[in-house]
């Protein structure tokens, strides 16, 4: 059951007569067993996955841990994000470890160094996470997947034992950072509960009454107690809301560009271009496959960063917009989210059934005769490509719209033109990659 508001609550004035009606997602958030039920369920599932990661029944046909984590959960994440905002952060098993640790004794506030540099470290954690994903081939690497899952549990637990609130989720969790920056474009948005009632303190350092930085809300259930007025949610297709300076500053802008580079790297990996790159680059890396991947991804991400720094400098010169860099980076988010969704569809289209087969086979309830691989690893499915291009088109449209406003209000005509050129160039690059046949083997 949810912990009582007693102690944490500053006080409540609510009575049964004034309690507002809850609907939709709010009913879930204010459910007395939220998020505990999900935490229990997902944490138990995580323990099972960790067991299978280190004790694989079989490797070649797919391991239960890698199949569930990288071929079901990971491609499902952007869809959860689009429909439910940061709801995953609320029910996440690592968050469960943090919430459990939060019950153990008193803690000090996070040190100022962590509060100042935390967002930058979070952005870097996304980069290293992406690098590890691509270089270690996590989709086919149960051992490394198990190590990462355990490390995430220990970090979430350890940091919450030391400091107040969900410090790990807020500053260092790569998944939390990704969901945070993309949550601006989610159809589900949290809003403050209003000033009518006082509310509990927030583990993400927000005021549940005003919720000035909705992207920080992890929907953890700390303020959505039956007798407390916490956050509410609104649902509707939106083109993204513009964040304030404190909600989307330089670290978040840096993260947006890192994501753009990592999405480009992941897109390349799905095409024959990746094999061509490795054929060319491996001799320069002494035939070390992983180092060669790290070199390629770092170069690609570095190139994206360099081009954007140059572009934002041009925008700044033309418009004197002090938020040129952040504004440009923000306008890329719908496009890179579109790429994330399109890649996820590629994985789900070709990986969903084999993954479910693996889950069934590992459960020992069903037989397994093996199967021949497809003759050609790279496919072009016209229906799938059509859906992917529609998603990319919507992403481009939203990015295009954001180039007009940036984050600092109306820009000069030259500034808008520069932003649009950069967005179009990025979209053209992704368009080219998605025209190439992509891997069906994930």
């Amino acid at each position: 059951m949810k912990q009582s508001a007693e102690g944490a609550a500053v006080g409540t004035l609510k009575s049964a007569a004034t309690r507002p009606a809850r609907a939709g997602m709010d009913r879930l958030l204010y459910w007395r067993w939220y998020p505990g039920t999900f935490h229990l369920l997902f944490f138990a599932g995580l323990v099972v996955l960790i067991y299978f990661a280190f004790n694989p029944v079989r490797r070649a046909e797919g391991n239960l841990a890698t199949e569930v984590v990288w071929k079901l959960w990971w491609p499902g994440l952007p869809f959860i994000l689009l429909l439910g905002g940061r709801i995953w952060c609320g029910i996440c098993p690592f968050g469960a470890a943090a919430d459990f640790a939060a019950r153990l004794g008193s803690k000090s506030a996070a040190p100022s160094l962590l509060r100042s540099w935390g967002p930058w470290m979070g952005a870097l954690s996304v980069f290293f996470f992406g690098l590890a994903f691509l270089a270690l081939g996590l989709e086919e690497n149960p051992g490394a997947t198990g190590v990462i899952l355990i490390a995430m549990i220990l970090l979430a637990f350890g940091m919450t034992v030391l400091y107040k609130g969900r410090t790990f989720c807020r500053y260092l969790c790569p998944v939390g950072m990704i969901t945070r920056v993309y949550s601006f474009f989610s159809w589900l948005q949290p809003v403050g509960g209003g000033v009518r009632y006082k509310a509990v303190s927030c583990p993400a350092g927000q005021s549940p009454q005003s919720l000035r930085q909705p992207s920080q809300c992890q929907m953890c259930g700390a303020c959505t107690l039956p007798d407390v007025s916490g956050i509410r949610t609104t649902f509707g297709v939106s083109g993204g809301r513009l964040p304030g300076v404190r909600e989307f500053g330089r670290p978040e802008a840096f993260l947006s560009l890192l994501l753009l580079g990592l999405m480009a790297a992941d897109s390349v990996r799905m095409t024959p271009l990746f094999a061509r790159y490795q054929q060319f680059a491996l001799p320069y890396f002494d035939y070390n496959y992983r180092l060669s991947v790290i070199g390629g991804v770092s170069a690609l991400v570095g190139a994206v960063l360099a081009v954007q720094l140059l572009g934002s400098w041009l925008v700044w010169r033309q418009s004197r917009d002090s938020r040129a860099f952040a504004g440009m980076a923000f306008s890329y988010l719908p496009l890179s989210l579109g790429v994330f969704l399109a890649l996820a569809l590629q994985h789900l289209r070709y990986g969903l059934w084999p993954s479910l087969e693996t889950v069934m086979a590992e459960s020992r309830l069903f037989g397994w005769d093996g199967h021949m691989p497809p003759d050609n690893v790279y496919f072009t499915s016209i229906p799938l490509k059509s859906v992917q291009f529609v998603i990319l088109g919507i992403g481009l449209y939203l990015s295009w719209r954001l180039t007009r406003s940036g984050l600092g209000g109306e820009s000069s005509r030259g500034g808008i033109a520069s932003r649009r050129f950069m967005v179009l160039a990025a979209a053209a690059g992704f368009g080219y990659l998605f025209l190439i046949p992509m891997s069906g083997a994930c």
Partner: protein, 140 residues
Amino acid sequence: MLGAGALVLLMATMALAGCGGGSDETLAADVDFPQFVYRSEDSLKGYRIAATYPEALEAVPCYCGCEQNPEKYQNLKDCFIDRKTGDFDEHAAGCAICLEEAIDIGEWMKEDLSLREIRDRIDEAYEGRGKPTDTPMPSE
């Protein structure tokens, strides 16, 4: 500070990525492989093993289900090297079972096992994971 510790851990992950993916000195490195071989780390390793120990791969059956096409696939080597043309075949680059078998063979060859012992180990490890090709038992 724990935050810095986390960063160190993440950097260690990167270091881990750098280790272990290196070139195995015992395998053929400078073979002019076709592009598809470079698709994944396991693929490159598998084809290098196939180029180094073709006789070992020829002595063991493939369990991936390729026995459905017995004209083309009669042993594990056929999944890597076309039996008619002698060129590298793309089949194994997209087949996790072929690659896993080859990588296992690569490890066992370092133990200086005979082809018969390799065959016995493969049959024991992969039995029940798919129908094997009809591959004659090696004499030695």
